[in-house]
């Protein structure tokens, strides 16, 4: 025992810490690194689930990029979805968090109400929305009828189906909202007090105090939203099955179909690597962009300090 303790103190080699982290290390090897390497290998093969596999080099990637219109179509659909979903998710979560932050009573109740959709299963969410969107007896069309808008075929229309999926996805923004709310609570009150005393108007306080202070959290939610948008599968799979006329055939669904409908495991693996690279590139871009932004924040802080003194 004493030896172990000394080992820890003098940073001599001891096996104990490695034993503690071994569950993760083994899991990493068998359920993350192994699969990643395997998947990369598979992407260079024509690899059916059963039967002969043949090495094809970069053919999977070449075919996908050059001769597969479904690749570009599904990638386009996912990109358009992300382009709308990501900003809406962040802005609406932010506005909700802001409202909650300034509320005087019932905060707990409201917070819970907004978070509730995030704790239920995606399948349940789909079942619920399937119904809200129903053109004959749906809740949405009923509400719209008050505004004199006739029955709308939400899930049957090429353009509206994507909107329907976006709205259903946004119903689950509770997690993002909670993160931003925590961030808002962490901003020192003195900053606002000082600004108010100095006569800084509300909109400028928002722009120069709230948003920069919330920076890291916004970046975090930005990245997780992008990943979520690209992984969008359950809702499309169950709510629209990719239809109508492939209007909601997301990129994740394209990969899923290649793997588990056509059993082209190598081809699907190649698709999943393309997704991985896109998500990675976008995340890096966000981080780089935010790095420039934090610099700005630091600059601003020193200016603020000058103001105070």
């Amino acid at each position: 025992m004493a030896a172990m303790q000394a080992g820890k103190r003098r940073a001599r080699f001891s096996i104990t810490p490695y034993l503690f982290i071994s569950p993760w290390a083994l899991g990493f090897l068998f359920f993350t690194l192994g699969p990643l390497v395997f998947s990369l290998t598979m992407s260079f093969y024509d690899w059916p689930v059963v039967g002969e596999r043949t090495f094809v080099g970069l053919d999977n990637y070449r075919t996908m990029l050059m001769d597969d219109p479904m690749f570009w179509e599904s990638l386009g659909i996912t990109s358009r979805f992300a382009l709308i979903y990501v900003p809406f998710n962040i802005v609406l979560s932010f506005l909700l968090a802001l409202l909650l932050h300034h509320a005087r009573f019932g905060v707990g109740f409201f917070r819970t109400a907004f978070y509730l959709p995030s704790v239920i299963s995606g399948v349940a969410l789909v079942m619920i929305w399937n119904w809200i969107y129903s053109s004959e007896y749906g809740l949405l069309n009923y509400m719209l009828s008050f505004a004199g808008i006739g029955p709308v075929n939400w899930l049957g229309d090429k353009n509206l189906a994507v909107v329907a999926i976006i709205v259903a996805s946004l119903w689950g923004l509770g997690g993002t909202m909670l993160i931003l709310l925590t961030g808002l609570k962490g901003i020192p009150r003195e900053l606002y007090e000082a600004a108010t005393v100095s006569g800084v108007p509300g909109w400028a306080q928002m722009l120069f105090i709230t948003l920069p202070m919330l920076g890291p959290m916004l970046v975090f939610t930005f990245i997780t939203s992008i990943i979520a948008a690209f992984q969008q599968l359950t809702i499309a799979l169950l709510l629209t099955k990719g239809g109508p006329q492939n209007a909601t055939y997301f990129f994740a669904m394209y990969i899923y179909d290649n793997a588990f409908k056509f059993y082209e495991m190598g081809y699907a693996a190649a698709g999943s690597w393309i997704m991985f690279l896109i998500v990675l590139a976008l995340s890096m871009l966000v981080m780089r962009w935010s790095a420039a932004w934090s610099y700005y924040e630091g600059e601003l802080k020193s200016k603020d300090g000058g103001h105070d003194a």
Partner: protein
């Protein structure tokens, strides 16, 4: 004036967020006649609570419930044990490669599930685990990165003196973990348990890919069986959807305090 605006906006939005739940519950207990009535009925004349039982018996939901329970219980136990062990290892030891490994652990959180889904399917297929519950349970015994991170942040707040005092008394590292840290970690463990329970209970894609026979289905797959485009049984869908939502909601209400205050902040601040 401003306060009034904030609270009216919040009330309106809260109704918007909760209405779908109420609507689903309502559709489960309405009579068939009222179900198709337009304009819709918001307070049914008769409440048909027996709909839950009849819907439950339309498919082998007892089997699905059993499968879900096995998956959720076994994987949650595994997750709690493995994540806390790993978190303790990262939080309380100095060892060569620690920081690099920890960064690696954080990086794994960024990998989309779609990338791992295909090779994992092949791996489990090779092991003969397809169409068993193992793929949904075994990986949870190998510590999820996010939970390790959360628990590590929590352990860092526990004073080192406690460990040192115990070591003076001759306690081994495992004793310190098991007798001292595990009890102290209870709030964080409740949080991990809750999140993991919800993930496992709500999971759809995992069971969809790894399970084939109806006898192996979990509840989410069972519910999806109702989504037959030709003949949608609204009462059944609404009843089972309602029932499926109950455990996560109940759990959420009990663990709410920990969710709202603890995890989110520490998880992000890093």
């Amino acid at each position: 004036m401003r306060k009034l605006f904030i609270h009216s906006a919040l009330t309106f939005l809260a109704v918007l967020f909760i209405l779908p739940f109420y609507w689903t519950f309502l559709s489960a207990v309405k009579s068939t006649a009222e179900l198709y009535q337009f304009p819709p009925v918001f307070w049914p004349a008769e409440w048909h609570f027996e709909n839950f039982l009849t819907s439950w018996n339309k498919l082998p939901f007892n089997t699905f419930l059993w499968n879900s329970t096995v998956v959720v219980v076994l994987s949650t136990i595994g997750q709690l044990i493995s994540s806390s062990l790993v978190a303790f290892g990262f939080a309380r030891f100095r060892f060569p490669g620690r920081d690099a490994l920890f960064i690696l652990l954080l990086a794994t959180m960024m990998i989309p599930w779609d990338v791992k889904m295909i090779p994992l399917y092949m791996e489990f297929n090779y092991l003969g685990w397809i169409n068993t519950l193992k793929p949904l349970i075994v990986p949870s015994w190998f510590a999820d990165a996010f939970f390790v991170f959360m628990l590590r942040q929590f352990i860092m707040t526990i004073p080192l003196e406690i460990d040192e005092a115990a070591r003076m008394d001759g306690a081994s590292s495992f004793d310190i973990f098991w007798r001292i840290h595990l009890p102290l970690m209870t709030p964080a463990l409740i949080l991990v348990g809750t999140f993991h329970f919800m993930n496992a209970w709500n999971d759809y894609l995992g069971p969809l890919i790894f399970l084939n026979d109806q006898s192996k289905y979990t509840l989410t797959l069972g519910l999806a069986l109702f989504k037959d485009p030709h003949d949608i049984d609204i009462t059944a869908v609404a009843s089972i959807t309602t029932l499926l939502c109950v455990p996560p909601l109940v759990l959420f209400f009990f663990a709410q305090r920990y969710i709202m205050e603890g995890a989110v902040g520490s998880a992000v601040k890093g």
